[in-house]
Structure formats: structure tokens, C-alpha cells
Symmetry: C2
Subunit: 337 residues, 2 copies
């Protein structure tokens, strides 16, 4: 039986990131390619702004390599909006065959995993992955419009306004210098840990992150020591601690080289985001702007990137369901040896 670890071989050759004002003001602010002072990106609606961010992210990722949309044969994309319309409208102007994904905040890893798999299998030479979230869109869709001024508990996370666009290509065929190689991947299972508090997504997603990471360590016969960094997408302060505890209890400690994109993107002390960043865009922009360049320069040699998603809807919570989570994992390696 094939292992559920996929052996992959694809190069990430470009990444571009687009963020809102708060993300620009955060510790990684200088790394992002574009930001909008008003978070509106010149659009009439927040939803339109998110779509525009996706368009910009892919356009910039292509532009950095002087590539045209016709040079890309497959597009994997998703976001948090109902029916994933951020991606559908945002990427409408690109005539690239399109696979729409919904993995909630795991979508960045899901899209990169499938793009890398299709490239590794030879179905395509070049593929793109685009993911986004927008704070004002997510707040009014999942909780309350921001104008309402609802108070958030300490475990509540702050949906990142951000979009990341990535271009992947066959490692051998690439005339472009790679930022990193995707060398392995593992899709996650949907798990329900019984959490039903929409203001504690980290707790809802941590068990699925632990499940995927444990399965990966066991099947690949590795442990945290084999990686310079193990980074999750948006478990934040609360969920990240739970993940570390769960991994400790299983005998696979990860604390010493663990990070989370939702912790990296905002200043804990000055930005008042409570539990840290979240949303599809969180892991996408931290990976695209900060982690991939570090891989490219060899500051990170080998890392595990695992984005987790909370697969609930506002209606499913009102109907009394808990919040199931899913975590998809990628192994990324530096081109510098």
C-alpha cells in the first residue's frame, strides 16, 4: 500500500504577497510586496477588495519572473468567503484551468500540495496556487460586522487581510532559480475534538495538526530534530501551545523549533490581536514573504509547513455542531546545500 506521505519534487519559483494596513504595521511589514492603507484596494466592497488582492498576488508572482498567465497550466485557489467567490472573481481575468478548493485556513497548504503533486506527476510543468482572507469580510461573514465593535476573548484570533500567490514548476525543467523545493506532502484527515467555540479556533484545529504531524513523523521516520523549523498556519498563541502539549504527550516534542504564522505576523504586545493571526491569508503571506526567502537564502534548510483549517460554518455552529479541523503538511527544502 502506498504511504500517505507523498514523495514530491517541485520548485517554488515565485511568491508574492498582498496585505492590509495592520499586517503592514506588524513585525513582518517590510517583507510584503503590496499593502493598502484602507484595506480596500480601490474596490467598492470588502469582498471585492479580497478578490482584487488575489488578482494582485498572482499578477505580482508572475511579474517577478516576467511570466504570462499562458505560461501557467493549472491554478489551485481558495478563500474563506461563502462559495469561495474571492478566488472565483479575483482570478477570473486569468485564462488558466482552475481547481477551486475549500480547506478553510488549511487552503494554502492544500493548494501547494496539490500543485506540487500535479507537477511531480508530470501532468503540468507550471502551476499556481493562490489563497486569501480579509479581516472585514471574515468578521461580518463568520461573526459580526467590524462596525459593531464586538469584544473578543483572549483566545479569539484576528483574521489576516492578506493574499499569497505562488508559482511552482518542475524542478528539473526550471530555468528560474528556485526559492525552495517541495519534497514531500501529507494530506490531513478531518477530526472533531469537540470544540464549538468560534473564538477558539486554535483549540479546534490543534488536534488535527497533531494528528497529521504525528503520522508524518512516524511514516517518514523523522522527528522535530530533522527540521530547522516546524511552522503551523494559524494556530496562534493558544492553539500552538496545545499542539506542543499534544506532541509532548506523544513523545515527539517540537517546542524548540516550533513557530506559527499567526504568532509571527502580529506583535503580541502592541497590536492587540489577542490569540494571534488567522485566516487562509495568514500562512500564505508569512510563507510567501518571510519563510520562502529564508529558505532561498539557506537560512532555513528544511522545514515542515502545516496549515490547519476549521471546517465549520456560522450555520453549523448555530445548529449545535462542533468545529472539525484538518491539517495539511508540506516539507520544504532550501536550494542551498
Amino acid at each position: 500500500m502506498p504511504s500517505s506521505v507523498f514523495s514530491l519534487r517541485a520548485a517554488v519559483i515565485s511568491a508574492a504577497t498582498v496585505v492590509g494596513r495592520k499586517e503592514h504595521e506588524g513585525p513582518l511589514g517590510a517583507h510584503f510586496d503590496f499593502f493598502s492603507q484602507s484595506d480596500r484596494f480601490g474596490q467598492a466592497t470588502w469582498e471585492g477588495a479580497e478578490a482584487e488582492m488575489q488578482r494582485m498576488a498572482l499578477s505580482a508572482a508572475l511579474g517577478k519572473l516576467d511570466m504570462q498567465p499562458k505560461d501557467v497550466q493549472l491554478l489551485f485557489a481558495g478563500d474563506l468567503q461563502n462559495q469561495c467567490v474571492g478566488s472565483a472573481y479575483g482570478l477570473l481575468s486569468y485564462d488558466i484551468p482552475y481547481f477551486g478548493l475549500y480547506g478553510a485556513c488549511s487552503t494554502c497548504a492544500e493548494s501547494l500540495l496539490l500543485a506540487a503533486a500535479m507537477i511531480s506527476a508530470g501532468f503540468t510543468e507550471t502551476a499556481a496556487a493562490v489563497t486569501s482572507s480579509h479581516n472585514a469580510v471574515a468578521e461580518r461573514q463568520f461573526r459580526f460586522p467590524v462596525e459593531y465593535g464586538g469584544q473578543r476573548p483572549p483566545t479569539g484570533q484576528w483574521t489576516v487581510t492578506g493574499a499569497g500567490g505562488f508559482i511552482l514548476r518542475q524542478a528539473e525543467a526550471s530555468i528560474y532559480p528556485p526559492m525552495a523545493y517541495v519534497t514531500a506532502g501529507m494530506p490531513g484527515m478531518v477530526l472533531d475534538a469537540g470544540i464549538n467555540d468560534a473564538n477558539n479556533m486554535g483549540a479546534a484545529m490543534a488536534p488535527s495538526a497533531a494528528d497529521t504531524l504525528l503520522r508524518y513523523f512516524k511514516e517518514s521516520e523523522t522527528s522535530a530534530e530533522d527540521y530547522d523549523l516546524i511552522v503551523t498556519g494559524d494556530l496562534g498563541w493558544e492553539g500552538g501551545s496545545i499542539l506542543c502539549d499534544l506532541m509532548n504527550s506523544e513523545g515527539y516534542p517540537i517546542e524548540t523549533n516550533y513557530q506559527d504564522c499567526g504568532r509571527l505576523i502580529f506583535s503580541k504586545n502592541t497590536q492587540d490581536t489577542h490569540g494571534g493571526g488567522s485566516g487562509c491569508g495568514c500562512s500564505a503571506v508569512v510563507l510567501g514573504s518571510y519563510l520562502l526567502p529564508r529558505l532561498m537564502r539557506g537560512k532555513i534548510k528544511k522545514m515542515l509547513f502545516m496549515a490547519t483549517g476549521a471546517l465549520m460554518s456560522p450555520d453549523s455552529l448555530k445548529q449545535g455542531n462542533a468545529i472539525p479541523g484538518v491539517g495539511h503538511l508540506l516539507c520544504l527544502e532550501s536550494p542551498c546545500h
Copy 2:
């Protein structure tokens, strides 16, 4: 450059279908595996009913082969509910690595295409694809609750209450008799034809169906004559006519062997569904219950199956956006020569 036609090799070895009362009363009623007289499937909510239908569809598809969930290594699933929770909750009890998809009504073809691709590439031996829609869920989410009794125009389509579960396996490795082989696939591009009438989805989706089909004919150097059947997912009466007109105008007539799952599932004269069936579940249950058995018995030797999706949300329509469409295509061949 690789063609955008994927050369695939995977066997569909099992399919199971679950429908509501109206579908059971339609012309294909006797072909479905399960139906619920109340459309509730013993659940407290319509949304819960749809999730239960997904669970039943996969359970029955596995059960027909005496397979266990552990025999399946990958699961591709999606539905129309916000954040695709029909799939997330419905398939929660299966510990199978899960890729969530959103392709609106194209999801059945999208899931089969990706499952067949991952099998063809050797990433997995066995994969499952599950898709659903539920009339009462879709009506209240996209239009009005059914209790409101809103009148529908003649082009309005009837969302099918149905779920289809499919098991695919490496063609060579299969100890199970194949129902059909997936031999090729082509992902669609997102196209906006400017239609913004949510009661005329067929018109919104027909141009994307024509685009995929034309690209497929040209790249594979085939035409309608090379197939016993060309079947779309849910263009219905209106959209199907538009597709035939568009194909005629491009010099690739398809009328003589064209069908649409949304036309097949309901009686035009007696079931009062106006434009025909629609929804992710429409193409899934017609393929699973009616088309695959005909392929298995050699009544159909070779067919193109193309499900189209309308990638809008209720909010995006209220904000003045048109309805973009996408159409994914599969070539299915009979095991009987």
C-alpha cells in the same frame, strides 16, 4: 509544454447514490440505492440530512465491495453549503486523508478528475470522491426557504437532493471488476459570460462548458462522433440548448449524442421542475446510478462527462457581480470491448 488534456488511467470500481423523494419519483428512481421519503434521513436539520447523505453514499460505495475506510487513502469531496460543511461533517467519521473542493455544481467532475489524477500518478492506490446537494438546504441558502413558496421562472432549475459516492482504484492493481475507466480529463477555466440571473444558471454555465469541450475536442483531435454520449452535469433544458447552439456555431455539433443529467433526472412533463435538475448532487447521482452501470455493461462504450459550476454566492449577486462558470471534463470508457 504538456497538453491541458490529462492522460489518465484509473478504474471506477464502485458507486452509490442517495436521493430524496422527488428524485426517487423521477424517471431514474429505480436506479438509486437509497432514498428518504421525507428528505430528512432521520436528521434534525436539512443540513444534517445532506451530511448524512454523504456519509451513506460513501458507506454504501465501500459496502458494495466489502471495503473498509482504511482501504481508501484519499478522499475528495465537496458540496454547495457555505464552507462545504455538508462534506466536512458527513465524512467526519471516516479516517481518510481529505481534500475539500469547491467547484459548485462542477464538484463531482472536479473530485473524480483529481482522484483519477492522483491514482494515475501513483500517489495512491485507491481514492474516493463524494459530492452532494440538498434542495431544501440550497433553496434557503441561495434563494428563499422552501416554506416561502417563491415562484420560479421557466429557466429556474430544481436543486437535486442527492449524494454520490465513488471509489476509484489503480486500473492494473484492481481485483475488483471496473465499472468504467477514466482515461482522460481536462480542468475548466473560470469564465464570466455576463449572466447575473440566479434563476438562469444554465445560461451562466453553458459558455464554460462550451469552452472546455471545444478545447478538449481540439487538443484531443476528436469530435462528438468519437463518443457515444456527451453528458453535462446540470445545464438543464435552457443551458443545454445554449451549449448545443454554441458548439454548432463553432463547427463542432453535439446535438445527436448530447444529454444532460439535469434533464435525465426529472420528468419534464409531470415533475414541474421547470429548467431541469441542478446542484452538485445531480450529476453525481445520474453518473453513479445510471451512466456508470451502462458503461459497465457496454451500453455506452465511451463518453464525455462534463460537470459545470456557477461560482457565485448570494452576496456576490447582491453586490452586482455576474455569475462566472467553470466546467471540468472527464472521458470515461467501458471495460467491455
